[in-house]
């Protein structure tokens, strides 16, 4: 039984801490400078390991998004009872006038 456990390309992707900070912002996670310093190299190691996929992913391979080729799974357009308002709001951090209360929305004009 031979075979190496993982292909690695040896290509270093090297994410800068600035790049990781941008991604964290996009993912809405506040990250401290210390965390950034830890996460960035960890991500590099993983990205280095995953870089191998491009070796075999040729243009003539059809991407597979679902394990089984199901199509056209539809529901009849018939109303079924959902949650009561009490159930819907029961776990909310803040409620006012039977609505979910959320902090003010900045930097947007919608």
């Amino acid at each position: 039984m031979a075979g190496s456990p993982i292909h690695t390309s040896g290509v270093s992707v090297a994410l800068s801490t600035e790049e990781v900070a941008r991604l964290a912002g996009l993912a809405r996670i506040t990250v401290s400078a210390e965390e950034l310093a830890t996460i960035a190299p960890q991500l590099d190691i993983v990205l280095d390991a995953v870089a191998s996929v491009s070796e075999v992913a040729n243009a003539d391979v059809t991407p597979m998004t679902h394990a089984l080729p199901l199509t056209n799974v539809f529901r009849d357009d018939v109303v079924r009872p959902g949650l009561t308002r009490e159930q819907a709001l029961a776990m909310a951090p803040a409620v006012e006038e039977d609505r979910f209360r959320v902090p003010r929305i900045l930097g947007e004009e919608a």
């Binding site: 996009l26 809405r28 998004t65 679902h66 199901l70 199509t71 056209n72 799974v73 539809f74 529901r75 009849d76 357009d77 018939v78 109303v79 079924r80 959902g82 949650l83 009561t84 308002r85 819907a88 709001l89 006012e96 006038e97 039977d98 609505r99 979910f100 209360r101 959320v102 902090p103 003010r104 929305i105 947007e108 004009e109 919608a110």
Partner: protein, 495 residues
Amino acid sequence: MAELMDYDEVLARFDPTLGLEVHVELNTATKMFCACDNSPGGEPNTKVCPVCLGLPGSLPVVNGRAVESAIRIGLALGCSIAPWSRFARKNYFYPDMTKDFQTSQYDEPICFDGHVDLLVDGQTYGIEIERVHMEEDAGKLTHAGASGRIQDADYSLVDYNRAGTPLMEIVTKPIGGLGAHTPDVGRAYLAHLRDLMVALGVSDARMEAGNLRCDVNISLAPKGATELGKRTETKNVNSLRAVEDALRYEIRRQGALLSAGGSVTQETRHWNEQGWTSPGRSKEQAEDYRYFPEPDLVPVAPSAAWIEELRATLPEPPAQRRARLQTQWGFTDLEMRDVVGTSGSLDLIDATVGAGASASSARKWWLGELARRANETDAELADLPITPAQVARVQALVDAGTLTDKLARSVFEGVLAGEGDPDAVVASRGLAVVSDDGALGEAVDAVIAAQPDVADKIRAGKVQAAGALIGAVMKAMRGQADAARVRELILERLA
């Protein structure tokens, strides 16, 4: 308010290119991905379930009726239907999106490459449709604070009843070559979509209720230039009139900028009901939506047989229908042009004829009295609170001699004022023509007695003198008498 340039001057120097993105809320019984009640309104957060609230563990299931509606819309817009299409996730954080991604379609929409011919002022314009895709609506935010506006709110409140309502996004390709007609064609396109949705029965298509929402893209390029200019996308353009006004405004604003040697910022703008656009989020900081195929849903792959089945349910194409109705109704070309030129009137007249009225009477009321009233309130004919059946009923009362045309106008006024249906208005306003010969006879006798000299002239054969007596009787009856019958009665008595 921005600097504006004279409209004709802009058009003398620049070619506008138009693009429209229209969101249509479907009137399906349930939401796009869950079995919650999709009817509008309701107490906040009462039409929700784990799926549309995005609770941990919940999964979407596609509403089959919504897919049917999407295909029918696509077919009615002359689109090809994709034999294989997928849903995708559009990832962005916003408190009105319960999952912090919108389930939408991205690079594989269900309908694509459509074409619509619009008739505007007797001229035909071709509009190319880029795509029609399925997605879901978001919840409704209200902003707490003095002004109720988002900018200076202390916090916001969310009602998720609307979250998950099926939305169809209909996107045109860039439309150039319209010149000064750009605003009219934009408006006509939206009117066409609205009428089409109603004819298909897939949406209530009420713009004031937000069932139909329009984003307007417009750019200017110097005449003869091959490259398109930088465009703006104006949101919240939610009436036919607003589409026309927003286009005209942006053309004048961009024209002023470019003529002054400046440049247009590619950005999202906001239409203000007061008649101007203001800048929104700049497109330079475009969000990274990180689209990817929705793994919780499987592809939509409509069979050719299914598509043909749905095609068979489509309403008649507009041009064909116009020709058929003109023949049926016996309208002249000129009469028909008035009908086609008045948004919504074709359907309303058709429905009124369907309710029993003659075509000419239906046309007379809708393009006459009712069009006048719509103009007064700057409303669309279709938005007037009166139904074709009610119009047909008024005409039936005229035909039966219960109402005169003049009385009929009062009845319309009552119906539009919310006083009930025509019969109720006739009763409550006491508008019916007095056909009781007893009461009429008494009035005639009284007038004859009061004017013996005129009566003598008539007895002597001067029938034309009856006019004076008829007038007196009508006055006594406060107009609610049939003049012909009054004349008959007078002549009977003085024979």
